[in-house]
């Protein structure tokens, strides 16, 4: 899974030469061999490295504050979202829904790497949601649909249908 995400990220970034990755441990943590030094280990570490290699630093945030917010959601992805239990799912979606209430993207008004990897991580959860639940987590669904239609992001994942007409009308006063 993690390796497919990294390969999708490489395509999104337009990196010409695809990297070869290995994994270590039961959790299959990705490892990138590095010609200039010791290997890089970990999904977030490698993803941030690829972004720098592609000279797209704005994807990591354009201010100290937004860089901190991006790193926080990347960490949230690999510590809370990965390996979450059934009971955790509701809390994760509820909290994210409240967070996204007044935001277009996770770091505010700017698309970042945090959106990419939270989207990859939350995809299996959204696939399993019933229609009523998608309505319950309206802000998550809106954000999710936005990201899956962002140019060059979806790659290895199938699109998930969200009911536009019921999400974008009604509930608003």
């Amino acid at each position: 899974m993690a390796l497919r995400e990294l390969s999708s990220l490489e395509k999104f970034l337009g990196l010409k030469k695809p990297n070869k990755y290995s994994t270590q441990g039961d959790k299959k943590v990705p490892v990138l061999q590095n010609n200039n030094g010791p290997p890089l280990v970990g999904l977030v570490t490698i993803a941030c490295h690829l972004v720098k290699e592609a000279k797209r630093p704005e994807l990591l945030g354009d201010s100290a504050e937004s860089r901190a917010v991006v790193q926080q959601w990347l960490e949230h992805r690999v510590t809370k979202l990965d390996g979450c239990t059934k009971e955790d799912i509701k809390t994760i979606l509820k909290d994210l829904n409240l967070y996204l209430q007044d935001k277009v993207y996770l770091a505010g008004n700017q698309f970042t790497l945090a959106d990419t990897f939270m989207y990859y991580g939350i995809h299996p959860l959204i696939v399993d949601l019933a229609i009523q639940e998608k309505e319950q987590y309206m802000n998550v669904t809106r954000w999710f649909d936005h990201i899956q239609h962002y140019p060059g992001i979806r790659h290895h994942l199938p699109p998930v249908a969200v009911l536009r007409n019921r999400i974008y009308t009604g509930r608003h006063h």
Partner: protein, 220 residues
């Protein structure tokens, strides 16, 4: 900017250590464990940093990284890797170890869950052959790992195996982060591991399978 911390919460040690090392000016407010500081999180989560923009940071590692960045020290790729390792590998093992030592009175068994991550850290330090994790100077990685391990490594009653490089590195940190000792005393109320009891009692019991993963992961 305002930092919210609570007594007995080991994650708060990291941000207080980072504040001490960077010298960033920031209000620090001690609140109760149960206080919901971050408006969008259903579970009380501390530490939390209220940013000038009104946003809250709720990850202790992200807060430490931010404090380093605003004091003019950007974190390197090596730092990023240590922070990710700390969050994904060390923390699940530490949670399990603290649960055993603080709540179950099984301090003697702590090494079972922690030896894997500690050996990994020890090997990296001895291979790197630099005084600190990422080079000649203290980085955010040293501060985060040092504070995360502080409750365990500063308790001499816990039987941990020989990790010479970790010990040397930890003692060097203690000398550099002298301002931190006072904060650690306050967070742990001078009671060491037992100072975390009421905090640990409010945490969900760790999943033992996670810790098995951590161990096998690090033995590779």
């Amino acid at each position: 900017m305002k930092l919210f911390v609570s007594e007995g919460n080991p994650h708060c040690l990291k941000v207080l250590a980072a504040l001490g090392v960077t010298g960033v000016q920031c209000d620090v407010q001690y609140v109760n464990h149960e206080e919901r500081v971050v408006p969008f999180l259903s579970r009380p989560t501390l530490p939390a940093l209220l940013l000038p923009s009104g946003l809250h940071l709720f990850s202790s590692n992200a807060i430490c990284r931010y404090l380093f960045e605003v004091s003019g020290k950007d974190s390197s790729e090596r730092c990023n890797q240590w922070l990710e390792w700390e969050a994904t590998d060390l923390q699940p093992a530490l949670l399990q170890a603290l649960h055993m030592a603080v709540l179950q009175g099984k301090g003697s068994e702590v090494s079972k869950v922690l030896q894997g991550p500690l050996n990994y850290l020890d090997q990296s330090l001895s291979k790197g052959n630099t005084p600190y994790l990422t080079g000649e100077a203290v980085s955010v990685a040293d501060v985060v790992l040092w504070a995360a391990l502080y409750p365990i490594l500063s308790d001499s009653s816990l039987a941990l195996g020989e990790c010479k490089s970790v010990k040397t590195w930890f003692d060097r940190g203690a000398a550099v982060m002298c301002s931190f000792q006072a904060a650690a005393q306050k967070v742990l109320q001078g009671k060491g591991l037992q100072g975390m009891k009421s905090y640990m009692q409010r945490q969900p019991a760790p999943q033992s399978s996670q810790c098995r993963d951590t161990q096998s992961c690090n033995s590779n």
